[in-house]
Symmetry: C2
DNA sequence: TTGCTCCTCACGTCACGTGAGGTGGC
DNA sequence: TTGCTCCTCACGTCACGTGAGGTGGC
């Protein structure tokens, strides 16, 4: 029979059959005078066996190994199948994890209005962002740019610090944003606004020290300790440098001073 | 910071970061005098967001779409995530099917001794092959070549006829092999042996007619009907031709005559 | 003549990995 | 000087899909 019929019997494309020839998985049959390949029943038997194996999920190389190992092909197959099952188990667990995460995100989207602009974050942080959105809506005027900036930083931190012992800052952060207390959240937004005002100011602007003090005051002890352990200026590889470079000079200075105050407080 | 630190923060290789630059997913940063790329905190923020999306299973193109759709990125993301979940659900179901099939095969291997040389087949056919193996072990001498050949053909048929209405032959086949009755199985093996003997014989060998009669007699009505519906000689595309070409001339003739007898019986 | 099947290149897919060959920074 | 990091090509991976351009069979 011709390649088209063979392929139809196996339920695959003729291109696939030719591919198997090219890689040596299926022997080339004889040719007719017109150059057409001419297949026998044996080819159909072998090809259907190849397909039975690939449909289980074996790679073509593994299929070749199994077919080639005529001495005790059963044992070879058994080993490959056992390995394959372990691999599929991993894949299944991975897909499940991802689907659970997706369900979580879609639920977040239902509860709030859509998904956060900062991208997928942990449920805890998503809840916090939701509180911020509600607080901001209650306050007059547009949201301070610094609030959005902090959210992006928090999203980054949220993703890089995944280990449980690295997530202490979350509880502290929740406290500093009031933990549901509207007054604390208002104070936080006031600080964001005051930082915004420092955007074009010189480093020695008199407001810098005041803002630094307000920041340090708003940070609860838990977060203060985490901040004290964080790398100081110039340390921590290029990250700290990139961090401060991301702010206007006077803003960076206020944050630097605030961190110094927090470190002093931690020592006491 | 340099590319190595950025990659470390995102938990990926530097090659991956460069790949994202090449395809335009992440903007190229400025360069230092030595040609090194120089990244800011913004890059880390964006890159971690990219990673959060790819780890969910978005393709890089989808990630690009989501990042590019600044007007209501949330809605775009929501759609992509919903599609993705449907896709993952399909994948999960597929993996489960394959694992169930694997478990079945591994169980077969435990029950019999190893996996059948014919490759993975349905549980019903595997059970039948097991009966044949036990029957053959009880009979003297090596197994007839025709028995092994029939198994290969049956494995092929098993895989090509998957729809329930196409699987009637299985019940008939079980009957013809005795359905657990040792006497019937012995008769079947006798026919295999007699077919083997026709391997080198001429088409007009006097034994041909007798073997054909024995085959037709051994086939129960259920299988006779299925055979009657099957394509005759020369029909059914190249398959029938390839089928008969796979036997020695006298063997093919015996089978041809047996099928004719079965068709006649079906008409009555 | 028309539509179908077949033939052989040869590039494209997806998300990078992996050298190859060379240079800057501590 | 040594080891580490960075740079730019450019091929390899996996299982085919998809033209491109041409020919045989009914």
């Amino acid at each position: 029979m011709r390649i088209g019929e063979l392929a139809a019997i196996a339920g695959i494309s003729t291109r696939t059959v030719r591919h198997y020839h090219r890689i040596g998985l299926l022997a080339e049959p004889s040719r007719r005078a017109n150059g057409y390949r001419w297949y026998g029943l044996r080819d159909a038997v072998v090809l259907s066996r190849i397909r039975a194996l690939t449909e289980l999920g074996l790679s073509l190389e593994e299929v070749g190994d199994v077919l080639g190992a005529d001495t005790d092909a059963g044992k070879e197959l058994h080993e490959v199948l056992a390995e394959l099952d372990a691999d599929l188990a991993r894949q299944e667990a991975d897909i499940r994890r991802r689907r659970a995460r997706l369900a979580e995100l879609l639920r977040q989207a239902e509860e709030g209005d859509g998904l956060p602009a900062e991208g997928p974050v942990s449920p805890e942080l998503a809840a916090l962002f939701g509180e911020m959105a509600r607080a901001s809506a209650r306050l007059p005027g547009p949201e301070p740019a610094m609030a959005a900036k902090e959210r992006e930083l928090l999203a980054l931190l949220d993703r890089t610090a995944q280990a449980p012992e690295e997530r202490g800052w979350l509880a502290g952060l929740r406290q500093s944003l009031g933990d549901g207390d509207p007054a604390a959240m208002r104070r936080a937004y006031e600080i964001y606004a005051r930082l915004d005002e420092l955007a074009g100011a010189p480093v020695d602007d008199p407001r810098v020290g005041a803002v630094a003090g307000a920041i340090a005051e708003a940070v609860p002890d838990e977060l203060a300790r985490a901040a004290a352990e964080s790398p100081g200026e110039g340390e921590g590889g290029g990250f700290a440098g990139a961090f401060f470079a991301d702010f206007a000079p006077a803003q960076a200075e206020a944050i630097r001073q605030a961190m110094r105050l927090l470190r002093e407080r931690a020592v006491r």
